[in-house]
Subunit: 428 residues, 2 copies
Amino acid sequence: MSHPLRLGIAGLGTVGVGVIKIVMQHGDMLRARSGRDITISAVSARSKSKDRGVDLSNFDWEDDPVALATRDDVDVYVELMGGEDGPALASVKAALNAGKHVVTANKAMLAIHGQELAELAEFKGVNLRFEAAVAGGIPIIKSLTESLAGNKITRVMGVMNGTCNYILTRMETAGLPYDEVFEEANQLGYLEADPNLDVGGIDAAHKLVLLSSIAYGTQVDFASAQLQGIQRISIVDIKHAAEMGYRIKLLGVSQMTDAGLIQTMRPCLVPALSPLGLLEGGTNMVIVEGDSVGQIVLRGAGAGEGPTASAVFGDVMDIARGINIPVFGIPAAQLTKSTPADSSGESAYYMRLNLKDKAGAMASASSALADAGISIDKMTQHSSDDNVARVLIVTHPTTGETASKAAQAIENTGVLELPPVVLKIETV
Amino acid sequence: MSHPLRLGIAGLGTVGVGVIKIVMQHGDMLRARSGRDITISAVSARSKSKDRGVDLSNFDWEDDPVALATRDDVDVYVELMGGEDGPALASVKAALNAGKHVVTANKAMLAIHGQELAELAEFKGVNLRFEAAVAGGIPIIKSLTESLAGNKITRVMGVMNGTCNYILTRMETAGLPYDEVFEEANQLGYLEADPNLDVGGIDAAHKLVLLSSIAYGTQVDFASAQLQGIQRISIVDIKHAAEMGYRIKLLGVSQMTDAGLIQTMRPCLVPALSPLGLLEGGTNMVIVEGDSVGQIVLRGAGAGEGPTASAVFGDVMDIARGINIPVFGIPAAQLTKSTPADSSGESAYYMRLNLKDKAGAMASASSALADAGISIDKMTQHSSDDNVARVLIVTHPTTGETASKAAQAIENTGVLELPPVVLKIETV
């Protein structure tokens, strides 16, 4: 029997509490599986007095996460505070510098500082693990880094923000407008303190760029990911998509092409009866394509106390078992800088044009589309109460660049009441 | 850079060839990911002269797999011959005794001899890995053993025989009877040399019992798994199930209850629009439920050159990276003997009764059901061309034991032309 593995946990929100519960409830099981005791030496959070439903009296308390991270009786620093910089980054650096292993759920920090932190961890010979940072309880980091290590990965896709998926599926099932469901989600506590992290696609893109790094051996590059949020998706879009056999999902796509790395996070239409289309509420899904394995689909809860704590603990158990592999699958020093590329290939696009209700508006829009070289597969027009003619279009296959240029050209004609909504139709 | 990891590969069917291709095509990638070269020292198969589409001239040839397994220049013995005993078992034992790591896709061998082999591997301090033995390219062994190591696993379910799933979905889509589709599958080379391994559910049950062992820390126990094959599923069952919103799948369920371990592999009705219901052709799916993670679903190709070679290589890369954890997640000496239990809980059952076309047959069957305490939710009766009245029944929730007893009682009345078909309706 090896000596115990001693944790220091910073951040006692639902996930931190979930991790503590696993330690408290499953001591024998964890010992059998890892060959050693897993213990908690100390914890840290903003409020010491808050009742979190677990007994913290057996653990030391540290107000300062940096102090926690560097304690002599901490082998693994578990960072669950979140935030791109600030105390999370400072304490993780302090832990690594002190030769401690780090397990974190902090996608924002890693999406921005992942390269620097990975280099530091590997220089110090310790683990920096982040299964919990991507898609909650779904074991996607380990699958990509380890199980699929014999594959050249060709594409990674995923629905990885449960809040957005909740909003979109709730709009559809309850027939409620975006603003109302957004407010509902807010009251249910589903939204981040800055809701734009969720609905703007930022949180999901943080996750996607971490997967890209492992998939292609490239340095994490959040800055060049192309983002589009769900804020402008209306119930009309959802209904029209459903009529055509599609559902709208905030979908991330990461693909390495000859031109470079494509990383997009945006609402797309996906076939309603595909695994992605059937995804409800807060459930996440990640799809990985490799040259040997073909397509693998992983599905599970993307957030919440239990699922995220499960992912944190997968990493803790790996460390307890002595597993130590490079943070992003190959040594950080060997990760290459990728060249960002635009979406390649052609696909159909969905467009919603809210035209001013005046003569010639439709003609102007149509000729702008034709000028851009886009041909129309299907088109329906609806009048609404507010003197706006709503035109819903599905194009024949075209490139993303052409679709964007056409939308811009239509907007430039001045016939639109609102900016156009342009969504890719993914065939997945 | 560590010294190379040298493989010896026994069995050069599609999977062995797939493994060789990965080594040949991805040398640089494998070196970057594992920190060392992966090489092949020697290979073995039944026929040396057969053209397999890959150049074997750089590898030594061994006629005897035992000789291959014990060569000084082999670090990892990759056993891809298959078969419960014989050369596979002999060579794996020889490899372990010689202190070689073993990677195998041999579910039959492990389902019967897993405990003995795990004890030997752990005594020798080497790896015995088998990701490729279960559900092809799906990383279920690693997910269960490592990613979910912080969970008490409560249930594992899966569709893990692609051939059966192909037969069942093909019967439905083409409207063809079992015998015809079976012959089709045979000509396509989808069936094992002994087809009963596939259609009898034996191959899938071999896989299920390996998952049970990891999930619950119990010794592999194939002998007490309850098996039912798909041979008696008719197109009528498939059509009737579809009308009610279900599909028939050969589904494995492993569950630890207070009464003991339930392991069943049998055709069941599952909701048509559930992840399991939507599974087509040779695709496999495994569902794992844990106390923290909730439900995780993994889907991918269950067989074939690429997917299975991908799984083999996941294991090879783990060994190259120095990972060594117990074969079934906890040391083999600590695996407990499980008590087999019957299916617990109640559910609805589907029954097909082919009644002799004579007065009173229906009355006898109905009263036998009533006597057994089974009440009927839905019933339809069809006359067929062959003087048989076909009665299709969905029961109200009842236990598996009661459903079986009722079916037996009906058979005992002598009114049936064929034995009854009784299928559980899983709500998943």
